[in-house]
């Protein structure tokens, strides 16, 4: 969906704090006409509806979201790592965002993400993230077929990092804020789905920066 396109109605599946944060970012996005909460729920910020009928897309967080979306029969923008039936955009997460960052770099050598909600058990080495995240133990993960170093942040901040041949690119922000926008940014590529965010990395990254994330580079 391109910025400026109108008439899009997005339904929020009540699946946690991340999806609520995503809804607030979507409400301010120029390409979205209306955001509603698919109940049962109560909301001070959004209209609550009984079903996803009339919604162009649903937005949801976590493992329960795809099943909920299938029941409503509406395509889901999701922060899971892999395709599932009924999901039009997946990988709309901090890890998927890091992979999208790497996709725009020449010869990416390291993709890493640190977030307070990432469960990390066995760390095999350390990676230095920009402050205030700092140096953390990381474990090896695979996202979108690409090796990704995963770390649990020691504070409330999160960082996505891609190290290429010529530069390092990063986004550092409050973990909840970053996760919410990473999910909301999936709306930018939903019309091209089903696909992961890193397959249309540029419009996805552009949407997330329009929603408030700040990318930075270092030589």
């Amino acid at each position: 969906m391109e910025a400026g396109q109108t008439g899009v109605r997005v339904g929020l599946l009540v699946t946690g704090d991340v999806s609520v944060r995503a809804a607030h970012s979507l409400q301010a996005h120029p390409g979205v006409d209306e955001v509603v909460v698919v109940g049962p729920a109560t909301s001070k910020s959004f209209q609550v509806v009984d079903s996803g009928q009339g919604c162009d897309y649903l937005v949801g967080h976590g493992p329960s979201a795809p099943d909920l979306a299938r029941k409503h029969g509406v395509g889901l923008i999701w922060d899971g790592d892999a395709a599932e039936e009924g999901v039009v955009v997946w990988g709309a997460s901090p890890a998927g965002f890091a992979v999208a960052l790497a996709d725009r770099e020449s010869d990416p050598r390291l993709v890493a993400v640190a977030h307070p909600d990432i469960p990390v058990s066995d760390t095999t080495r350390t990676t230095r993230f920009p402050d205030p995240v700092g140096r953390l133990g990381v474990s090896d993960g695979i996202v979108g077929g690409r090796p990704v170093a995963l770390a649990r942040s020691r504070n409330e901040f999160a960082a996505c990092l891609a190290v290429g041949a010529k530069r390092r690119v990063t986004v550092v922000d409050h973990g909840g804020f970053l996760a919410g926008i990473a999910l909301a940014g999936g709306i930018a590529v939903a019309d091209d789905g089903p696909l992961p965010v890193w397959e249309r990395a540029l419009p996805y990254l552009e949407a997330t920066t329009e929603m408030g994330l700040v990318m930075a580079e270092s030589d």
């Binding site: 725009r104 230095r128 920009p130 540029l202 920066t209 700040v214 990318m215 930075a216 580079e217 270092s218």
Partner: protein
């Protein structure tokens, strides 16, 4: 105390022997101290001189 000339030479010889025996240990300790200082200076370089980040747009 034996103050004969020969006795002074013997005492001096003992001091020389002690220095000779300790010198490898002194060299090793000095090397270890230098290595620790080098490692700690490396940590300081990373922490005291963080990377310079500048905002950039997706491209």
């Amino acid at each position: 105390m034996d103050k004969s000339p020969g006795a002074v030479e013997r005492r001096g010889g003992h001091r020389l022997l002690l220095v000779k025996r300790l010198s490898p240990l002194i060299v090793i300790l000095a090397a270890v101290a230098a290595a620790v200082a080098l490692l700690r200076s490396g940590e300081k370089t990373e922490e005291d001189h963080p990377e310079q980040w500048k905002p950039v747009r997706p491209a």
